[in-house]
């Protein structure tokens, strides 16, 4: 698709189109409500663009197949929902340890377990962060509109390649099923650029070499190039051989966290609404941020100086932005469709002793703007 095109479509379809616009050529996965339109759109659209769709036997193999395709050089993605995301955690960890770029879309639904398959939720904030075992960094983006679904998917591929990491697009059933007008923009050339090849001779290539400053990430050439190398989910040295010495293990784990943490300035994005003179802040993300926006607008109309900080990057958590907002307001409200997963992070950053109130909903329905407005009124009194 070239140029600008405004299309009335759903979040799920916009995610698949965003992936293709970003140059994705490989989807593997397992169908699950409410994400299945992503697979269906990928199955229809990828062969039109020279790519490939494979429906695997489960989410474990779906995740594994995209990791394999990425090692062969493809921009690869999968899509799932909570229970499937749980099954993907094993090989998501493989992608973290092997430093293999890929994009995992989780259209959240009610849980735990099968929960309510068609009802929206935002209960996978912590699963996105810590679902796989062991210490590591992770990047998670949270769209709140169909346009975000398109744009953030493109950004997810870009970040995945740049930092050699899986990136999670943490959508929710409300946004993914929503239909809105979307501008299908053409990504900039650098957003579609293939992964760079190493500039060293093949015999000198070390797939897991680390820049001490964590600013440059070692390129990952595709299998089949002049570079012959070993990728592994086991603890490894720079060449990909066995590396279980205490010093090396420490170095590798710190690198997996550090390459994300030390690049927060590139990764972390937030949106600010009416925060400049706010003395009450709403901090939210995804579908709940939509309600929050309406609530803040209404609050302003009623003379309550409230503002919204929308977290479009959830991991790494936008510590600096949240701390900055908390330092300037008298109280904060955190609406989310879970029992306080993001609110806990906000409280972690509350060095200012202000009241932080969660608005938590887990009944499979959305948070109405009125609930947030009421909380703002109460916070003011």
């Amino acid at each position: 698709m070239t140029g600008l095109q405004s299309v009335f479509t759903s979040g799920n379809e916009a995610i698949a189109e965003g992936a293709i616009a970003a140059g994705a050529s490989f989807f593997a996965g397992y169908p699950i409500t409410p994400s299945s339109e992503i697979a269906e759109t990928a199955a229809r659209r990828l062969p039109e663009t020279g790519g490939m769709y494979v429906q695997m036997e489960d989410e474990l193999s779906g995740m594994a197949a995209i990791v394999g395709a990425s090692v062969s050089g493809a921009r690869a993605f999968t899509a799932t929902s909570g229970p499937g995301f749980s099954l993907m955690q094993e090989n998501l960890g493989m992608a973290v340890m092997g430093e293999i770029p890929c994009v995992v879309v989780n259209v959240q639904r009610s849980g735990p377990s099968t929960g309510m398959a068609t009802k929206p939720a935002q209960g996978d904030v912590m699963q996105a962060r810590w679902g796989t075992h062991g210490d590591h960094g992770i990047i998670t983006l949270a769209p709140s509109s169909v346009q975000d679904c398109y744009d953030f998917t493109i950004r997810a591929f870009s970040l995945a390649g740049r930092f050699r990491t899986p990136v999670i697009l943490l959508a929710d059933a409300a946004v993914a099923k929503l239909k809105e007008n979307v501008r299908f923009r053409s990504p900039a050339p650098e957003e579609r650029a293939p992964r760079p090849l190493p500039d060293c001779p093949p015999e000198a290539y070390r797939p897991f070499a680390v820049d001490p400053e964590e600013k440059a990430i070692t390129p990952l050439p595709p299998f089949g190039s002049d570079y012959i190398f070993r990728i592994t989910g086991s603890m490894h040295d720079e060449a990909g051989g066995q590396g279980a010495s205490p010093a090396n293990a420490d170095r590798v784990i710190r690198h997996l966290a550090g390459k994300i943490e030390k690049n927060r300035d590139v990764i972390v994005r937030v949106r600010r609404f009416f925060l400049d003179d706010a003395d009450l802040a709403v901090i939210s993300f995804g579908c709940s941020a939509r309600s929050a926006r309406a609530a803040v607008r209404e609050a302003r109309r009623q003379g309550i100086p409230a503002g919204l900080l929308e977290l479009t990057t959830l991991w790494p958590f936008p510590d600096d932005d949240v701390r900055d907002v908390l330092s300037r307001v008298r109280g904060a409200v955190v609406p989310e469709l879970n029992l306080g997963q993001a609110a806990g992070e906000v409280r972690r950053l509350n060095d200012f002793g202000i009241p932080v109130r969660g608005i938590c909903r887990v009944d499979g329905t959305l948070i109405p703007p009125g609930d947030i407005l009421s909380a703002l009124r109460e916070a003011r009194s």
């Binding site: 050529s25 490989f26 593997a28 062969p47 039109e48 020279g50 490939m52 494979v54 695997m56 036997e57 489960d58 474990l60 193999s61 779906g62 594994a64 197949a65 995209i66 990791v67 394999g68 395709a69 990425s70 090692v71 062969s72 050089g73 493809a74 690869a76 094993e90 090989n91 960890g93 493989m94 595709p222 299998f223 089949g224 190039s225 002049d226 012959i228 190398f229 070993r230 990728i231 592994t232 989910g233 086991s234 990909g240 051989g241 066995q242």
Partner: protein, 276 residues
């Protein structure tokens, strides 16, 4: 393609292997390197994908592209690797625990899906690296660290399983016949589509020791004496075949592989099929 020396495909700087003395893995490793050499494979266009366990370390000793994945998922990683780059020759290295137990679902679907891969399962009838617990191929009655009473489950016949699931090439060799194994793996690599080669092997450290085979020599002798060709097995009853390894080729048919079928269908969709 010209035949080469098998040593070109071994990462000799990483030898010796971590495997126990008397383990069958080294023989299979040599058979694979030999099959690569017979076909003169370009090391840059060759990938070994492995899982976890003793045999899962095999990729470390091969001087080709290697992917050492998670337990049981090697075939799923390999599916992505091959489909995203059809130029690669992909060999998948799994043990019986890895490939046929935790990875059993992937194995039957890989056989059915028919991606152009060659799976080499080394079957030593137990989990070696974890300490000799029973796997999906442990014979009934065997003693393992988790079947101290004698194993009460029946094992998979991996060749019958993969052939029934649709694998176009299925064969079983043994570490008692390294050259035959090399030829079977070569045929698997040459076969377009999913090919499955089982290498019947020994684990003197755990399985042999617990089942009355006190040394590696006894383990190898037992395997040799309990192996027979398909031809010789043909006239025997089920009872007579109990506890025996039948060696040979169990499926050898042509069936268009997944990647070829998919790409043809996609080209037809794009209107490229007829004109090109």
């Amino acid at each position: 393609m010209t035949a080469r020396n098998f040593r070109e495909y071994l990462a000799e700087n990483r030898l010796p292997t971590i495997w126990c003395p008397g383990c069958g893995n080294g023989i299979v490793l040599k058979a694979i390197a030999g099959a690569f050499a017979d076909l003169g494979l370009d090391r840059r266009k060759t990938a070994a994908v492995s899982g976890i366990g003793c045999w899962g370390w095999a990729d470390d000793y091969l001087a080709v592209n290697a992917f050492h994945g998670t337990h049981g998922r090697a075939l799923a990683f390999a599916t992505g690797i091959k489909l995203a780059n059809p130029e690669l020759t992909v060999v998948v290295l799994m043990g019986d625990g890895d490939g046929a137990t935790i990875g059993g679902n992937h194995l039957i679907h890989a056989a059915r899906r028919n991606v152009d891969l060659t799976a080499v399962v080394v079957n030593n009838y137990n989990y070696g690296m974890t300490g000799g617990q029973y796997s999906g191929t442990t014979p009934r009655g065997s003693i393992t660290s988790t079947s101290p009473l004698g194993h009460v489950e029946d094992p998979f016949d991996l060749c019958a399983l993969t052939a029934a699931a649709g694998a176009p090439f299925v064969a079983r060799g043994s570490v008692c016949g390294g050259e035959n194994l090399r030829a079977l793996i070569r045929r698997g690599l040459e076969h377009r589509g999913f090919s499955f080669v089982e290498a019947a092997s020994v684990c003197p450290t755990h399985f042999g020791r617990r089942n009355g085979l006190r040394t590696a020599v006894e383990a190898f002798s037992w395997l040799r004496d309990h192996s027979l060709s398909r031809k010789r097995a043909a006239g025997l009853s089920e009872e007579e075949l109990h506890g025996k390894q039948v060696l040979g080729v169990f499926a050898d048919r042509q069936s268009e592989d997944y990647g070829t079928r998919y790409r043809k269908a996609a080209e037809a969709l794009r209107g490229e099929g007829e004109s090109s």
